[in-house]
Subunit: 322 residues, 2 copies
């Protein structure tokens, strides 16, 4: 059978999967994007993971191609450059390396675009011509579908809603700027908000037992689910900040839906309720009660993998069969 | 010869023009959108202006259709509703009224969309696949071209960048919200900023001779051109606020250009210099020095008229000739 490899390079881990044309994941694996050795160690780690994956999959297969979603990539050059959360300081020629190693077509797009394609083809975005996808991982990725087409921007660098400004926010961002949305709305943002709240409030909280290094979004989510007041407040603040900025995006685009994906979206209503409340409060009259907020219907973090793999199938379709 | 009527309904005045297919304006006219009598008086005034226009044009013509650009319109219903700066409180059935009166096809789109189509077909946006149009009149209109197509949103109500939020802005907006971008960046915004500066600063200024009612964007522009410090400061602040929010839009869309149109855009570099400076300061590294800021190349306020009329020609083209 024919399969595609989908690769989703994230700020924390890199996921890879063997995917068939129906969107079925035959085998998958992940490894740390920050393994010792920096950029130099990344490609050998990736190759090893691909070899391991091929071994895991028991069936016979022919590799149709490789699709990659990665932050801050240059689609035309096939390189990753300027990604704030990755150890790739220089343009990293990933497409070339993969082509040389596997001798198949390789497609590269921004991680958030890959996730959007996955949601649009297989997930919550199916059949919706205008939607915004917000991917909440280590950072905040965004991507927009308008008139049924991905908005890529003049040189494929659209979709950086993680770096729009939040009012009165003095948090430094990994990108070098101050006040970016992802300093609040992301896994790291949740942790920073929890730390700031512990500093400001006297509320008792299970979270006070963790160091900054130990704390993570999962622990905050678990504490909030068990009723920890401070942890719940973290999600209230995060949702409110996100809702505020989404109201601005709705004013500009009028999407039919906002789809939330990525690890942090597993928080579900803890995040969506305060987000919706604030967004609706800030919308213009004629935009109110129209925009759905949806969680991804795909398994955690599979949207980008499926979307990356779908680049291979999309491309195959566009080549005439002779 | 065949002509289209283009109508541009603005917060202050309504402009109409007879336009041929090449985009040449054969005759034009304008009247106050706020004539005594409110919504009831508007259609008779419009009809009178159309009759007058037809009289002005000496040649024989056949009317191919009417295209209208208007704020806050419902394209599907053919009505104007909820426009903050117009005396039309209820859904105003403009398309139906025009069809009944003139018995030709009538097309309605948002004023900012009409302007975008005009810029894209005849103006500064020619050949640019991804651009943002900011129309600065009584309010701030916005419209986006992505992948060569107008971004209309789920129900034609996209393009309300006039109502995105400016940090630490407590100005009430005509829309009922507080802190909207157009409370700074618009003809009225300039006036409000001038008034606020006169209250805060001790600087001598020619503008101090005018009441709020007397003052307008043209007077502030003239004073600034003659070196009036306070008037120049008004444009500095306005440009900075606009540049700040445009940096956010660039992060999301990565347009190749931002085109400024509408009466206030005549201020040119007085507005563009501080806008560019602030926008570039706020952009992500890989977005810097890429986005052009262009002034409309069309005569003041003609973009929306031409774009509205072009709806007629676009539609004619899409109907097969048998």
């Amino acid at each position: 059978m024919e399969v595609a490899i989908g690769i989703d390079i994230g700020g924390t881990s890199t996921k890879i999967a063997l995917v068939d044309i129906s969107g079925k994941i035959m085998a998958k694996k992940s490894f740390s994007s920050h393994a010792p050795g920096g950029a130099d160690a990344f490609f050998p780690n990736l190759s090893e993971a691909i070899a391991d994956l091929s071994g895991q999959f028991s069936g016979e297969f022919r590799l149709a191609g490789i699709g990659v979603g990665a932050p801050s990539c240059n689609e035309l050059a096939g390189t990753i450059e300027g990604a704030a959360n990755l150890p790739f300081q220089e343009p990293f020629p990933l497409v070339q390396l993969l082509k040389e190693a596997y001798n198949v077509p390789v497609w590269l797009t921004k991680d958030s675009n890959a996730a959007l394609l996955g949601e649009s083809r297989y997930g919550s975005g199916r059949g919706i011509q205008n939607f915004i996808l917000i991917t909440l991982g280590t950072g905040l990725g965004s991507s927009i579908m308008a008139n049924g087409k991905l908005v890529k921007g003049g040189s494929g660098l659209a979709g950086e809603a993680g770096h729009i400004r939040v009012a009165n926010n003095n948090r430094k961002c990994a990108c070098g700027k101050t006040g970016c949305l992802e300093t609040y709305v992301s896994a790291l943002g949740l942790k920073r908000t929890a730390m700031a709240l512990m500093a400001e409030e006297m509320t008792e909280s299970d979270l006070r037992a963790y160091s900054f290094e130990q704390l993570n979004a999962q622990l905050i989510y678990e504490a909030a689910s068990e009723g920890d007041t401070l942890a719940r407040q973290v999600f209230e603040i995060t949702g409110k900040v996100l809702g505020d900025k989404m109201a601005e995006l709705v004013a500009i685009f009028e999407p039919q839906a906002i789809v939330l994906a990525g690890g942090v979206s597993a928080a579900g209503q803890l995040l969506i309720d305060p987000m919706r409340k604030q967004m609706e409060r800030e919308l213009l009259e004629f935009h109110k009660n129209k925009v759905r907020i949806l969680n991804t219907s795909l398994a955690t973090n599979e949207a980008a993998l499926l979307g990356a793999a779908s680049l291979v199938w999309d491309q195959k379709k566009s080549v005439p069969v002779s």
